[in-house]
Symmetry: C2
Subunit: 186 residues, 2 copies
Amino acid sequence: MSPKRPYEVIASEHLWQSRWYSLRQDRLRAPNGSEATYTVVEKPGAVWVVPVTEQGALVLINQYRYPVDDWCLEVPAGNVEPEFTPAEMAVRELREEIGGTASQIVPIAEFYTMNGIGNEIAWVFLALGVTLGRPRREPTEHMELCIVPVGEALRMARTGLIKDGPSALAILLCEAELGTHFPESV
Amino acid sequence: MSPKRPYEVIASEHLWQSRWYSLRQDRLRAPNGSEATYTVVEKPGAVWVVPVTEQGALVLINQYRYPVDDWCLEVPAGNVEPEFTPAEMAVRELREEIGGTASQIVPIAEFYTMNGIGNEIAWVFLALGVTLGRPRREPTEHMELCIVPVGEALRMARTGLIKDGPSALAILLCEAELGTHFPESV
């Protein structure tokens, strides 16, 4: 296998920066001497948290997403802030987005959401024994909760009804662990 | 449910444009009169094609991805060019990336890859009866084929071994259809 990074970075600059993500343009030189430009969506990693109640109900959020002009079923998710670990952010997102607290936060997997253009890592957590309270973020008319049995949520993820890709994958990555807790559901 | 687009777009400009994706900044006005700025990664939709041979082998590509500085197992994928339909692009990507031809291209599902920051749609296709030939794109030392039984590929996607999220989800979305063709594998 080739060395980990087959290119040498000979220049790098930010074209645009914001709190949520930035655009970084790198000038690269390949081992054969040829040069190329690669523009990367630079973004902190983010957590996707799959919340399941003691009774085996999975909590989804139906929310309006401006970039795609569509309503999407999703699990709570958010960027990992520099002062927190992914597991700590999972706890926070759960509380902020659905007012949830969990008896257990299980790290499940990680994946890249857009490895051709950006560096975002998705950390997936399963939150077990979730109880719901009042979300910290302002309630808006652009989101609502959708609570379904675990088996139904898995079916919705498997059949494309959950159109937010990272949320669908997060749920499917939890399938084995869900099977040990709710064997009749998966 | 709220109207489809709860915001009025009062201004829109491109901050940066390229052949692969662009950065568009919109000024929005909410129904309550408040204004906000949203910056969107504007990107054409793309196809992810899950290639399976007559014998039930699934063809993965192991390739270096500069934005994440990592090697990733993936299925053939690429942007949909304006003059082609997603199904036509699936045929082209199969041929270009692995030199493959399929006896059947089955549309499976679609999802959003990054609905919080970008508008990319992923179209998933299952390519059945695939035979391999010489890829059209230049062979490089930054990719290699990895051919595994369908059941093993599903296991790799379910357990997070396929770290490219859209590829993992594409494979899992094909599970039901794969089950009808290779019932002993899923």
